[in-house]
């Protein structure tokens, strides 16, 4: 469960990036939609303490991101749009093993990492250079490395924007099958409609919070009318 209470984010120059948001997210699948620069990513970064609210609070399973950041980040995985910066080690096996350090016995890191890669269809590339993987494979690896930590919540910032249709479908299916609560910022309106709850963000304001179809229709109407900034 994610609780935001009057969570606000100001830029260093005082501009408001996210206006006060109060919401309790308990749904299994939550989609966040909005135009580029609307504040979606800023809102998502509040959810695992990558960004702290300048006022208000954000709690995940009862833990405050401001005071219990490390504990929150153990519970909340984050997947970025561009997987390149998320891949921290030279090979997929080593990258997943890095996530597993401290969670499994040291000598079992490699076997456990291979098991994770098999779940994501990357076992054949376990010892290849991660740099040489395709964009879709890199995003899968980024997902695998984050999910290897066993988060209860997964926050995804436009995880399929850079992917072609085949990989987008594959990643969407993977995310749909997860037991974890998933909060996704997305431009894929079909995926947003399939969510349990949709937040529409416009210029830092959450202008809709609730029914997916109504939220997507509102977003489309605002975009076509040129009202979204």
């Amino acid at each position: 469960m994610i609780e935001l209470w009057e969570a606000t984010v100001h830029a260093p120059d005082g501009a408001v990036l996210v206006h006060p948001v109060t919401a309790t997210l308990t749904e299994r699948r939550v989609a966040v939609v909005g135009a580029n620069g609307s504040g979606k990513s800023t809102l998502l970064r509040l959810l695992n303490g990558l960004l702290l609210p300048t006022s208000g609070s954000v709690r995940v399973h009862g833990r405050d991101t401001a005071t219990d950041g490390p504990a929150v980040r153990r519970d909340v995985g984050f997947v970025f749009t561009d997987p390149e910066a998320q891949i921290l080690m030279p090979t997929p096996r080593e990258d997943v093993a890095l996530s597993l350090r401290g969670r499994v016995r040291r000598k079992a890191d490699d076997d456990a990492a291979l098991a994770v890669l098999e779940r994501f269809g990357l076992a054949a590339h376990a010892d290849r250079s991660a740099h040489g993987l395709s964009a879709g494979q890199k995003q899968l690896l980024a997902l695998a490395s984050v999910l290897a930590t066993g988060p209860r919540v997964l926050v995804c910032d436009e995880p399929t924007t850079l992917l072609d249709l085949r990989w987008r479908t594959h990643v969407d299916r993977l995310l749909a099958d997860l037991d974890a609560q998933v909060v996704t910022a997305t431009h894929d309106l079909d995926a947003a409609r399939r969510a349990d709850r949709v937040l529409v963000v416009d210029d830092g304001h959450v202008v809709h919070d609730g029914d997916p179809d109504a939220g997507v229709d509102l977003y489309v109407a605002r975009m076509t009318a040129g009202k979204l900034r």
Binding site: R73, F78, A85, L88, P90, A97, H131
Partner: protein, 193 residues
Amino acid sequence: MSAGARLLALLGVGVLAGLPAHALPVPVWLGLALPLGCAVSLALAWRAPLAVVVRRAVPLALLALVLAVVHVVAGTPLRGVEVALDLVAVAVVAHAVTLTTSATAMLDALERGALRLGLSPGRAWTISLAVSLMLRAIPVLGGVAASAREAARARGAERRLGAIAGSATVRAVGHAQRTGEALAARGLADQPS
């Protein structure tokens, strides 16, 4: 040879390369050749793919050549030869280490070494992770520089080296920031348990 031993060997070649050739208790010509000789011997002993080592060492070797020319012009040719050979030696052994040692093994070895030096577990972890990330960043930053050049070429601005360097630097800083976020996102930026 363990990862820790290889890293110590890398350090050893680095120290040897840093010593002036005339300060070593061997003939000067031997003192000049010793670091590179050690580096190549280690690369062979570790069965590093020499063609790959040489290919990766070429950019630094070109820099070494430029420095050697500067010394020749300045009237210190022997010093130029020494600097060039030392740079190539360090490049050869560094690439030999990264080509024959897994990043995980290096991470473990660095962490153990840091603990033996009396650092706290948190600090030891931070240092070893920092070194591993630096190694991971090398091909990524190469890609960043290539992208910046490509973008400049697409605009016919391939001769504007300042603009390319500036763009590459900004992108590299962006990559560093995103890496920090990725570490935080996996809970790795916090103290290890």
